[in-house]
Each structure stands twice: as structure tokens, then as C-alpha cells.
């Protein structure tokens, strides 16, 4: 009854495998990023790669790209709530006041 | 007029106490007026629009801007008053909790399960020296800024001195410095305001405000006794 929806954004087994290869590539990229000398650059690269990988899995494997708008809003709301939490708690738990 | 309804606050003996009382009374009056208006309108509508024979209700679903303005205009006023209150409150908060005037007397206040312990640096004004002593009560001179360096040993307590309008949680693992300046001598109660176990209700202590010279002689006498040990 329900599998009549449109073909999932023209993704074929080949494209899935390509995305898989990219994800592995990004994994090794983040490993090398670990070797980078300056700690700030390393952290930015590592978490940048992690975010890209996460977005790729969500968009292509979870078909978030072709999902209905309500689901996209729900996922965005989840990350937005998380963002409010981080912004609200960071200055207190990590700030100088709490030493 | 408000005290009769909202309640009598204990006598204020702190310099920043006026600011807090001013903010509380300001909020009290604004909020009381709004409350009377809202409840009045509610009960008037209830009374005037009750079911009368042959009179049909009007079809007003409040979708037009004109109709909605009946609600939005009062709400904008409420927002205006709120922002005014927040501005007044922030200036008081900034003075009490963010700025820290220079200390004349420094006390270490340690909250522990079921008692407040105060450490006075003694005559030399430095902690960790021989003349430090631990009085039972918080003895402070009048008209002088007292710093309370607050922390806790085990659980969260909260140093609560109603007459000084002073309240600061004492968190184990954090050192928080509060300050106050008493304007009147006498004995005032101190209590714990944060649930800290079975003895939370008996963590009573007293604040003794002395004249400057009486305080000085008391400190000298206590330091001498401490040095003797």
C-alpha cells in the first residue's frame, strides 16, 4: 500500500556505492587531519568531516533530501533545540566562572 | 496597599536591599493593575454576555486585523511594561551580582550538611595564617562592605539572609563571591534555602552587625585567642 511513492530521488545501487566510497575517503581524511600540527585546524577539519559525513548519510541513505517538508522541519527542530542547549550551557559550564 | 495582599517583607538593612525592594514593588504595582484589569474584563464579559432569551451571540471569529487589535494592543502594552521591568531589574542585578565593590571584610562561608561555617582571616586579613578563627555567627561591622566567599563541602546549600535580601547558592566545586553592606546593627536570621538533606530545616545561624569599633575589638580578641592555641 505504501511502496508506490516516487523512486527515491533517482538513486541507484551504483550511486549508493559511490557515496559509500566517498564516506570512507572522508574517514581516512579525518584520520590524517589528526596528524595536523595546529590543534585548532585539526579540530575544525575533523568535525567538519564528521558533519559532512553525517549530512551525506542523512540526505542520501535516509533520503532526507526527498522527504516531505514536515520531516525536514522535525529534524531541523531537533538540531535547533540542541543548538539552544549548547549556546545556553556553554558559557556557564566552561566559562571562567566555573573554575 | 500591596503588602496587605502580597505580604510583608522583613525589614531591609542592606544597601542593595532598596534596589531589590524597588524592583519587587515596581513589579507588584504594574502586575497588580494588569491583574485587576484582566479579571475585571473577564468577569464583566461573563456577566454582560450571559444567555438572555431571544438574544443571539454575535459571530466574531477575530480574524480581521481590527478585531485582533483588541487583543494585540493590550499585549503590546504588556510587552512594553515587561521590557521596562526587565531593564530596571537588570540594572539592579548588575549592581548586586556582577559588580563587586572593594571589600573591607572578607569571610569564607562553607556550607556543609546541616551547618554554615564561617572563617575569618583574623587581624592580618590573610587566610591560612595562625590568627584565623571560625566564629559561630557571621559577625560583621555596620556600613562596611563584606565579601562572602561561598562554597560547599558536600551538597548544594544556599546562604539566605532575608533582612539583607541576600541569597546565593553554595555549590561544591565552585567558589562564588557575594557581597553586602549592612546599614543597621542588630541580630538577623540566616537560613539555608536549597534542599540539602534531612537537616535542611535546622541550618539556622545568625548575622550579628556591630558598630565598627566593637567589631574591631571583637576581631582582635578572637585572633589573640586563636593565636594562643
Amino acid at each position: 500500500m505504501s511502496s508506490d511513492q516516487v523512486d527515491m530521488g533517482h538513486l541507484t545501487p551504483k550511486t549508493y556505492t559511490i557515496i559509500w566510497a566517498i564516506l570512507l575517503g572522508l574517514l581516512f581524511l579525518s584520520l590524517f587531519a589528526g596528524m595536523v600540527k595546529s590543534p585548532v585546524l585539526a579540530t575544525v577539519m575533523i568535525f567538519g568531516v564528521a558533519i559532512i559525513k553525517a549530512v551525506m548519510v542523512m540526505f542520501y541513505y535516509m533520503h532526507l533530501k526527498v522527504e516531505i517538508v514536515y520531516v525536514k522541519v522535525a529534524v531541523l527542530a531537533g538540531f535547533l533545540a540542541l543548538f539552544f542547549f549548547v549556546v545556553g550551557v556553554y558559557p556557564d559550564v566552561v566559562g571562567q566562572f566555573s573554575k | 496597599m500591596l503588602d496587605w495582599i502580597v505580604g510583608y517583607m522583613p525589614e531591609n538593612i542592606a544597601t542593595f536591599g532598596e534596589d531589590i525592594d524597588y524592583v519587587i514593588n515596581l513589579i507588584g504595582y504594574i502586575v497588580f493593575i494588569w491583574w485587576i484589569l484582566a479579571e475585571g474584563v473577564l468577569f464583566y464579559f461573563l456577566f454582560s454576555s450571559r444567555k438572555k432569551e431571544g438574544v443571539k451571540a454575535t459571530y466574531e471569529d477575530g480574524s480581521t486585523m481590527k478585531a485582533m487589535s483588541w487583543v494585540l494592543i493590550p499585549v503590546v502594552l504588556v510587552l512594553g511594561f515587561d521590557l521596562f521591568i526587565d531593564y530596571k531589574s537588570h540594572s539592579a542585578w548588575d549592581k548586586i551580582k556582577i559588580q563587586l565593590p572593594k571589600a573591607d571584610v572578607v569571610y569564607r562561608v562553607m556550607g556543609q550538611q546541616f551547618a554554615w561555617t564561617y572563617t575569618h582571616p583574623g587581624v592580618d586579613g590573610k587566610f591560612g595564617t595562625g590568627d584565623d578563627f571560625e566564629p559561630d555567627d557571621l559577625v560583621v561591622p555596620v556600613h562596611q562592605v563584606v565579601h562572602t566567599v561561598i562554597s560547599a563541602l558536600d551538597v548544594i546549600h544556599s546562604l539566605w539572609i532575608p533582612n539583607l535580601r541576600f541569597k546565593q547558592d553554595s555549590v561544591p566545586g565552585r567558589i562564588i563571591t557575594g557581597w553586602f553592606e549592612a546599614t543597621k546593627t542588630g541580630d538577623y536570621p540566616i537560613a539555608c534555602a536549597e534542599l540539602c538533606g534531612t537537616g535542611h530545616g535546622v541550618m539556622a545561624s545568625t548575622l550579628k552587625v556591630l558598630e565598627a569599633d566593637a567589631y574591631k575589638s571583637w576581631v582582635a580578641q578572637q585572633s589573640a585567642a586563636a593565636l594562643a592555641q
Binding site: - | R50, G62, I85, D86, H90, K167, V171, T198, G201, V202
Partner: protein, 555 residues
Amino acid sequence: MTSHQSNFWNYYIFSKDHKMIAKQYLITGLIMALLGGLMAYVFRMQLAFPGEAVPGFGDVDSGTYNQLITLHGTIMVFWVGMPILLGAFGNFLIPLMIGADDMAFPTLNMMSYWTFFVSTLVLLASFFVEGGPASSGWTAYPPLSARPEYSGVMWGMNLWILAVALEFFSVLMGGVNYLTTTFNMRTKGMKFSRMPMFVWMQLAATVNFMFSVGPLIAGALMLLLDRTIGTSFFVPDKGGDPLLYQHLFWFFGHPEVYVLLLPSLGIVAEIIPTFSRKPLFGYKMILISTAFSSVLAFMVWAHHQFISGMDPRMAMPFGLLTIIISVPFAVVLFAYIATLWKGSITFTTPFLFAIAMIAEFLIGGVTGIINGAAAADIYVHDTYYVVSHFHFTLVPITIFGMLAGVYYWFPKFFGRMMNETLGKIHFWITAITFNVIFIPLLQMGMGGHQRRIPDPTEFEYLKGMMGMHKTATIALIILLIAQAFFIFNFFYSMYKGKKAEANPWKSTTLEWDAPSPPVAHGNFEVIPKVYRGPYEYSVPGCKQDWSPQSAETVN
């Protein structure tokens, strides 16, 4: 239609029918409400007559007192407010109001009730465990709650954390069900703009809950680890930070009070138009301000921690946002009041309770501004002023709102009418005694009376307030006795009340098209179609002063 043969077990116990599940939630919630109320009786007697044995309970030492207030708070919020306002009314009415035959996931719905039932058993079991139940406040601040030796309670607290976690999973399952049902199973013509405000409010409450409960589930598990195997997430001895738990808790805590408020506002939004025969004032305006307040709800939590050792500079943004969040609810309340204007009001019991909810909640909102302003909060934080403030908000929500809903939808739940005179007696006594309890508490709070202490006479400056404690306690006893009217009325009318027709209140929303009680599985004889908005009362040009959503034409 999921067919299930109706033997005793499938019909009453393991029923997948959203109506039976709603009744199970309602009955469990009401029983727990009684339990919570009796706890209030015991510790208020201790406060009014310190040291004396409380009739019907015995001595209340400070450990027992802390346990009683902890459980009173926990039960009233998690085992009365959530199950009845979300579980009972949400389950029963969402499918009926959107014209569906059942929830999207009936099995998950059944599992949600039974997870809730198990959580109730786990909580009740924690009473009889060695060392007694949890005793560190319903907020369970570490390190008091993180180490058993600080509060003297070992397994009682662990079971309490487990019970609360189970209750969260049950409400999560319910939430998934409500969202999927409302998105997917609306009948023909029931566009989103034609859904009754009750359904919108249930959705907003579910969204508030689902996006705020996460950090607290993590926090509760960390607390459980701290207590059992001795890690120190929240205990500073090995680097933990007690304030991190407070952030995790109150990030959930504030949206949680809207999870209770919004369904109650939804119930009142259905009752006021029906009995004033007038459309709800500003449907879109209420919707927008509810959405706005749901987003704001995630940004204001630290007003519970102004003086908790948090960085004082953070009080500026949180104070401002807290003051601003009172605005959308002012819009909703003023819109409800505006609905009454030029209506034709009949004062039935549900209407009286709905109006009492609005009138009392106004006091709640008004007394809250002092807590929102940081400087004033220094004085009132952790005093009886705050206790009275959140009772002036929570009691109208969970007691008056819930009772309004029960009296209003009782014909639909059980097919019979509740007795009006008993209802009115119950209303007047409850409404009056409620104020007599909590106005003195406001005054005690302003006098500096700190909260959660078992014996006020320990403090010199509190001795003068014992008179107020006594009046509040006597008023509480009268209030509890008055609930007998409701309990009798509830069970008596269930079998012997006047037979109710399908639409006793002449209301327009879809649930009144189904017979009372609705068809066992399938709700409606014929699933109705929807032709107009939910509040079409006294439409000009119609003789009949109400035009139901499902009627194609109305003469």
C-alpha cells in the same frame, strides 16, 4: 480496521482501542491524583502542627517530609498531569476530532499505556524499598541525589529514576502516535486550518516534549550511574559539575510545564466557544503565538538558576527571554477572554471549571513576572512565593483544566451525563478553597519563608506565620473532602447517570458526530467529511446557532 475479538482480556486489559487506552490513562491518573493529594495533606499537617503525629499517617520526621514533598511533586507532574492531559484526552479525542477510526500505531499505543503502568508500579515499589522512596526534591539536584549517603536513600531513588525514565518512554511512544495520526489520518476536508485548537495544542505539547526530554534522559542515566557504580558525572570530587545536571534538567523542565499547559489550554479552547455559542476569537493568532511560545520555551530554562552559582552575566539573556515568553501566553489568554464578549453564555460545570482555569491562571502568570526579573528573583527564589506561583499555574492546568475536560467529555467517554448540581457544589468548594490555600503561601514567601523545611518553628522569624500555615492546611482538608463529590459523581453517573445523546452540548467539532460512547472500533457509523472550520457558532443567516463541521449544508 485492526480486528480483535472482544474477550475480557483484549477488550479491557490489552486493548488496542484508543478509547479504552484513554480510559486506562484517566483512571490511573485520577488514582495517582488522589495519592498525591493525600501526601499534600500529610506534609501540610506537619507544617501546620509541627512535631505532632498526623492523624492517619503518624510521625513525620524530616526524612519522611522530604520524601513526601519529592513524591508529591513527581506524582502530580509525571503521574497525573501528563497521563491525563496528554494520555487520556489526547488518545480519546485526537482520532475522534480529526475523523479517524483509531491511532496510526494501535499496538504502540497499547505499549505506551503499559510502559506507563509499569512505571507506576516501579514508583509505588520505591515506597516500600528499604530506606524509603526518593527524597531530594522532584528536581533531584546532585550531589544530594548523586550519592546515596547524602540523602540516606539508596534503592528508593534508583527506582524513582527508573520510573521517571519509563514514564518518558511511554509519553514518547504516545507522542509519535499523535504526530503520525494527525499528519496522516485526517478525514476528507479536515485540512490543517480546520483542525480544532485542542488537536493543535496536543501537537504543540508533544513537540515541546519530544525535543526537550533528550538531555534529561541522558542526565537521568548519568545520575543513575553516579548513584550505582560511583562515577562522578555530577559530583565535583573527580571533576564532575553539579550545575551541568541543573541545565540538563531545566532544559527539559521549562518546556515540560508547557507540555502540561498547552493541552489544558486546548481543553478550554473547546469549552469556551461551545458554551458562549461564539467562535473562538483569533484562531490563527492563537496558533501563531503557540508556535512562537513553543520555540521560545527552549531558550528560557536558566531562570530557574539565576542564583544557583551560574555565571551571573547569563541572567541578562535568560531574564529578557523569560519576560518575553509571557507575551504569547498573554495573547492566548486575552483571546479566550475576548471569545466571551457578546456571546450567549450558559454556566454549566465544564464552563465554570474552564473559566476558573483562566481566572486562576491569570494570577499564576501575574505572580510569575517577579520570578522572571533576575533582581527580584534573588529574594523570592526557593521561597513559598515560588511554591505558590507554580501552584497558581499548575493547579489550574492539571486540576481545573482536567476537571473541565472530564465534565465536558464525560458523555462521550461513558455515554451518560454527569450530575450538574453535584458538579457545581464540587466546583465552588474546590475553587474557593484553592485560593484560601495559596494566597497565604504567597504572603509567607514574601515574608522570607524558605521552602522544603519540615518545621518552620525552628526559625524565629517564621513563628509568626504558623497561623497562615494552619489556615492553608484546613483549606486543603476541605478541598480534599470536596473531591468526594467528584469521585461519587464520576462513578455513579458512569452507570446510573442520565443517558447522553450524541451531541448534548450542541457543539460543532467532529467527536460529537460519533454516538456516545463511540462505536467500539471505528468510532463513527459513517466516517464524516468536513466542510467548515471547527467553531462555526451563531453564523449569521442560520436559524440554528451552531453549524457542525460535518454537516454539508446547515439551514
